[in-house]
Amino acid sequence: MQDAVLAMLAKEPTHGYDLHARLRRSLGPLGEAMNRGQIYVTLARLEKAGLVVCERADGLPERPERKVYALTPAGQQRVAAWLAEVGWPKPDLAEFHLKLTAAAAARLADPVELVAAQRRELLRRLGEAQRAALAEPAGSGAGLLLEGVVLRLQADLRWLDACERAWSKIDDEVEGE
């Protein structure tokens, strides 16, 4: 979040209101949950870290909307470093995997049931994302982002299918003993 806000200031100094609007625009329906407060909190942190400076604009004093933020040289360096970075969010599958193993080992719950519940949840999310994507006009940036979400969820669902097959087999073998 911080990096994204910094990068948006790279073009030109701007005030918080504008930043919020631009973020909302590129996130489309996914950005609906984001409120302006979050932006200001972020900007305050960045200022404290010396990555942005706040230039009070002329006009009415003490109104946060009127503060114009600009990158400091340190901030510029940070943006450059961020762009060069190839880090990628790691899919957090280990936790669910361990959940299944632990549930099965301690006979706390049926792993197949857990998988089914998880699948229902992911399908709901997929449905939401897919519908939102369908509502986007063709070529919108938010549509592209939603497509990414949909594909990730699809991949997760397929992994859940694999989990279900594997755990059903283990179940069968246990029953068969």
């Binding site: 996130l27 996914l30 709901r124 449905g127 939401e128 897919q130 369908l134 979400v149 949909v150 969820l153």
Partner: protein, 246 residues
């Protein structure tokens, strides 16, 4: 769920192939009610019997057990002739392989059901051009199926399925042969149908198609193993999908 509002109902529906040892239960005594306006997705691995289920619901195959009711009428006992009439009035089919008549133009294909139902040629033509407009292919009316892409062909097939304003549309792997963008075109049309209150049963193993339905049934070995309502739940807002919430 009000029974009278169910467009499609099945009780103890079963279909077996073969005999003795080699007997296969394609559909194994399932019960189903699809209320008016619901979009239902049936998911399952290949060979789980979901296509057979769809054929049974549309009267293309006869069950070996149980009952099928469509539009308040029991159909598993109907004659071929009566079944044909039922299909032309109440059921629209969409297939994975499109199944368009290759020798006929897009518009001619869409006209077929209306003509079969005895509409005048002018009525059929008007309805066809309306539907082609609706699926975004008005400019392709004169094309032969072989001159169209897979996605366009499937959209023609959808238009054809809608020709007689069927009570229920039955779709068998409608996106099975399509790429992502064509799949999205089909999903968009399905969303429009859902919004318009069209009852729709889709058999699929495409998660996108399944996830956008109101209700999802998972099928294994001829039986229903899960039945979930998907739509209407909006617990966290879309922002939750990318970790932007609060």
């Amino acid at each position: 769920m009000n029974v009278s509002s169910a467009v499609v109902r099945a009780f103890g529906l079963a279909k077996t192939h073969g005999q003795g040892q080699s007997r296969v239960h394609a559909v194994d005594e399932v019960d189903l009610e699809v209320p008016q306006g619901q979009t239902l997705a049936v998911m399952g691995p290949s060979g789980c019997g979901k296509s057979t289920l769809l054929h049974l619901l549309g009267g293309l195959e006869r069950p070996t057990g149980g009952e099928v009711w469509v539009a308040g009428r029991r159909i598993d006992t109907l004659s071929e002739r009566a079944l044909a009439r039922l299909r032309r009035q109440s059921v629209g089919f969409i297939f994975q392989a499109f199944h368009l008549v290759e020798e006929l133009s897009a518009a001619d294909n869409v006209e077929l059901p209306a003509l079969l139902a005895g509409r005048s040629r002018r009525q059929a033509r008007r309805r066809a051009s309306l539907l082609l407009e609706r699926v975004g292919l008005a400019d392709r009316a004169r094309h032969l199926p072989s001159q169209l892409s897979g996605g366009q062909r499937q959209r023609i097939a959808i238009a054809r399925a809608l020709a007689n304003e069927p009570l229920v549309v039955l779709a068998d792997e409608p996106t099975g042969n399509l790429d992502t963008s064509a799949t999205l075109d089909v999903l968009r049309i399905f969303e429009d149908l859902r919004a318009a209150g069209q009852t729709l049963v889709v058999v699929t193993h495409d998660e996108r198609v399944a996830a956008t339905a109101d209700r999802l049934i998972a099928m294994r070995d001829g039986m229903f193993v899960d039945d979930t309502r998907l739509a209407g739940s909006h617990p966290r807002g879309l922002g939750g999908l990318i970790g932007l919430e609060g």
